[in-house]
Amino acid sequence: MAQATLEKRGFRNSPLETIVDRIWRFFCSVRAAVVEIAILAVLVLIGTLRGSSVPRWIADAIPATEGIVDRWYGWDVFHSMPFMLILAILTIAITVCTLNRAPGIWRTINEPTISTTRGFIRNADVSANATIAQPVESSLDAFTTSLKKKRYRVLSEEHGDAVHVYADKNRWAKLATFPFHLALILILIGGIVGARYGFKENEFIIPEGSVRDVGHGTGLSVKLDQFSDSWREDGTAASYRSDLVLYENGEEVKRDSITVNNPMSYGTTTFYQTSYGQAAQMRITDLDGNVLYEDATELGIYRSSTNPDAPAGIITLPQSNLRLNVIAPDEDRANAPMLDTLNLESGQMYVQIRGTGPDAGAEMQDAVLVQGVPQEINGIVVEFQRETRFTLLQVASNPGIPIFWAASFLLVGGLFATFYFPHRRIRAILDRSGEPGVTQIALAPLAKRDWSGQKDFRGVVEDLQRRLQTDFVVNERASTYLERPAKPASNSA
C-alpha cells in the first residue's frame, strides 16, 4: 500500500533575494515607520530647543552639562547628516510602502472578497441577526435597497443555501492616503529644487536714488525711488514702504511699492521689504574733477569700533587704492562725551581715509565733512551732499514654490478625505436553511475597536428594522480593551 507523505515544500530564496525581501519588508513595516517618525520628531525637538534658551537653563542648573550644551548650540541639526538620513529613509519608506499597499487597496475597492464566515460575524465586536418572514430574494432586495439609501455599494454572491453580502461606502477615500504621502515627498522635492535652482539674498541694500544689480544671471536691477515710513503716536512703526523700479537688461519692466507683507514679484524673482536704515549721499572726485564715486552709502551696516552707537559705512575706491570709513553722528546723545568723542552735529560726517593694496598701512588724514562743502583730503575731493536712507530687501527666487503649493493642497485634501470619509464595510449572510419562505440574516461590520464604525453600523441596523418591519437582535461584546489576553489553547487529542 502506497504511503503518502506530506512535507513542507521549501521555497529557498537566493541570499540576494532574501536581503532584498528583508529590506522591502523593513520599509513596508508600519512599526519601522513609527520608529522613523519618532526619530525625526526627536531630531526636530533637539533642533527646536537649540533655538531656545532651554539648553542654557539646563547648563545653568547642571554646570556639568556646559560642554554638551555648547555642542548642542553649535550643532546645526536641520542640515546635519542624521537629519538628512532619516528624511531619506522616510522618503524611501513612503515610496516602498505606497507601492506595496497599492494593489491591495485597489483590490479592496474594485474586487473585494464578498464571501464571509459565520465565525467572523459571531466574533465581531458588534453584530446583528434577525429572522425575516420573506424569501431570501426579496429579503436581499430590501436589504440592498436599505443599504444603498445609506450610500453603500452592495455586492452579493450565492454560497449554497446562503447569500453572502459585502457592502461598503467611501471606498474611493481609501486612495486619499496616496496623495497625502505623495505630498510629503513633494515637499522634500520642492525644498531640494528651491535649494538647487533658486537663490536668496538676505541683505540686498539699495540707498534712495541708487540702482543695484540682482545678479544670479537674472539680468535684473532695481532702483529705490523713495523710501517712506510712518510712525504711531506711541513711537511704534506703522509701516515702511519702498518705491521700486525694476529693470531687465537696462529696460524698465516694472514699478511697484512694497511693504513687509506685500512683496513684488517678476518672473520667479521676488523682492521683500525687510528693514531700512540711514544713508549718506557722497560725491568723490580727483583733483582734476573726475568723478570717482557718486552714490549713496548705507550707514549702520557697520559700526564704529570705538562707538557702537555711531552708524558707519565703507566706500572703496579701487582705482585710487583707497577706502573711506564714513561715520555718522551718534544716535544717542547721552553717550557724549565718553563714547561720542567725535561729537558730530547733524549735517556732519566723519571720514577716515585708509590705503588699500600697496598703500595699505600708509598714514592718512581724517576729516569732519560739513554737508554741501567739498573738502580736499589726501589728493581727493570728498563731499557729503545730503542725508538719505536705504532700504534693506530680501531677493529670492524659488522655483520649488509651485511644487510646495501643490504638495500642500494634496496633503490637506488627502487628510480630510481620509478622516472624514472613512471606509465603512459590512458583511452579511442571508440564509434560507430554515423554514421555507423565511430568511435568517446575520450581519456585522468590519469595525474592530472602532466605536464610530460600530455606531454607524447600529444606524444601519435601525434603518433595516424600519424598512423590513423586523426586530433585529444586536449582539455586543464587552470591552475588548479590558479583556485579559487569552491563554494559548493547549493541544489535546
Binding site: 533655538g51 537653563w57 506703522a238 511693504t259 507683507n261 487628510l415 475597536r449 472602532d450 460600530q454 480593551y481
Partner: protein, 301 residues
C-alpha cells in the same frame, strides 16, 4: 472703541466664573463621592454589632447637567469676549498671548461642548475644564496692559492670513486638549474599569476623532504659516523654532495615527502618545517665552 475693549474684558471675567463653576460641577460628577456605609448586625446572642465601610459612588447627574449649563455659558461669554475684541481691533484678535489665550478658552470650551453633545458623555469635562480654568488663571496673571488693543507691527499686518493661520492653530490645540482628556480617562479605564466612566472604546474614539480634527488643522497651520512666511519673510520655511515646534507636535500626532493600526500599540500606548502630544502642544503654545527667532514678537511682553 475703548468701551468695546472693556466690554470684552467683562465678558472674559464672566467666562472665567462660568469655567470655574463648570469645573466644580464636572469634577463632582466625574470623581464621585466616597460614601460611608454603616451596617448593624444582630447576633444570635442578642448583641448588635455595628461596622462601617466605604464605597466609591458616582457623582449626581444634576452636577453634570449644571456642568454642561455652565460650560455653554463659558463658551458663549468667551465667544462674545473674542467677538467684541475683534470688533475693537478690526481683525482676528490674535496679536499677543492675551488675545490668543482668550480665543483658546473660547474654542476649547466650545469644542468640548460639541464633543459632549455628540458623544453624550460629560465626564471629560472634569479634565477639559481644568485646562480651561488653568488658561483663565494664566490670562488673569498677564500684565493688565496686555488687555489693551495694540496696533499691529508691520510684520503682522496681514489680517486675512493672520486670522486664518492663528484660528487654525487654536482649533488644533483645542481639539488636542479634548484628545488629551480622552486619553487620561482611557488610561484610568484600563486600570480601574470605573463603571460610571465611558467605555474604553468610546474614549479611544473620542481621542481619535479629536485628533482627526486637530491633525489636519495643524497641517493647515504649517501651510498657512508657510504662505505667510513666503510673503513676509521671503522663505516659506526658515527652521524658526516656533515653526519646528509645531512640526514636532505634528510629528508626534503622526506617530499616534500610525500606532493605531499597530497590534499591541493601539490602546494604552496610543493613549500615552496622546499625552506626549499634548505636552508638545504646551511646548509650542508657550514657546514664545523661550524661543528666539522670527516668532519672538508673539506678544509675551
Amino acid at each position: 472703541m475703548e468701551g468695546m475693549v472693556r466690554l470684552s474684558f467683562y465678558l472674559f471675567a464672566a467666562a472665567s466664573i462660568a469655567v470655574a463653576a463648570a469645573w466644580v460641577c464636572y469634577m463632582v460628577y466625574a470623581v464621585g463621592f466616597i460614601r460611608l456605609r454603616r451596617t448593624a448586625l444582630a447576633t444570635s446572642t442578642g448583641m448588635t454589632v455595628t461596622g462601617s465601610s466605604t464605597e466609591h459612588v458616582p457623582g449626581p447627574m444634576s452636577a453634570a447637567r449644571f456642568g454642561s449649563l455652565f460650560g455653554w455659558f463659558a463658551a458663549v461669554f468667551a465667544g462674545l469676549s473674542v467677538l467684541t475684541r475683534a470688533i475693537a481691533s478690526h481683525r482676528g484678535p490674535y496679536s499677543n498671548m492675551y488675545e490668543f489665550s482668550l480665543a483658546f478658552v473660547f474654542v476649547l470650551t466650545l469644542a468640548y461642548m460639541l464633543f459632549e453633545r455628540f458623544y453624550n458623555v460629560r465626564q471629560l469635562g472634569a479634565i477639559v475644564m481644568t485646562i480651561a480654568l488653568g488658561m483663565c488663571l494664566y490670562l488673569w496673571s498677564l500684565p493688565p496692559r496686555m488687555r489693551e488693543v495694540d496696533a499691529l507691527n508691520p510684520a503682522l499686518q496681514n489680517r486675512p492670513l493672520m486670522t486664518l493661520h492663528v484660528s487654525a492653530a487654536i482649533v488644533a490645540y483645542a481639539t488636542f486638549a479634548v484628545s488629551f482628556a480622552a486619553a487620561i480617562l482611557f488610561l484610568i479605564q484600563l486600570r480601574k474599569n470605573v463603571s460610571w466612566l465611558p467605555s474604553a472604546e468610546m474614549l479611544d474614539d473620542i481621542g481619535f476623532r479629536a485628533v482627526t480634527i486637530g491633525f489636519p488643522m495643524l497641517a493647515l497651520v504649517l501651510i498657512l504659516g508657510s504662505i505667510w512666511a513666503h510673503q513676509a519673510w521671503g522663505a516659506y520655511w526658515s527652521w524658526d523654532p516656533k515653526e519646528t515646534a509645531a512640526l514636532f507636535t505634528w510629528l508626534v500626532y503622526g506617530v499616534y495615527l500610525h500606532t493605531r493600526s499597530l497590534r499591541g500599540w493601539r490602546g494604552q500606548r496610543s493613549a500615552i502618545i496622546l499625552l506626549i502630544g499634548f505636552v508638545a502642544v504646551g511646548f509650542t503654545y508657550y514657546g514664545n517665552y523661550f524661543f528666539g527667532g522670527m516668532h519672538a514678537y508673539g506678544g509675551v511682553n
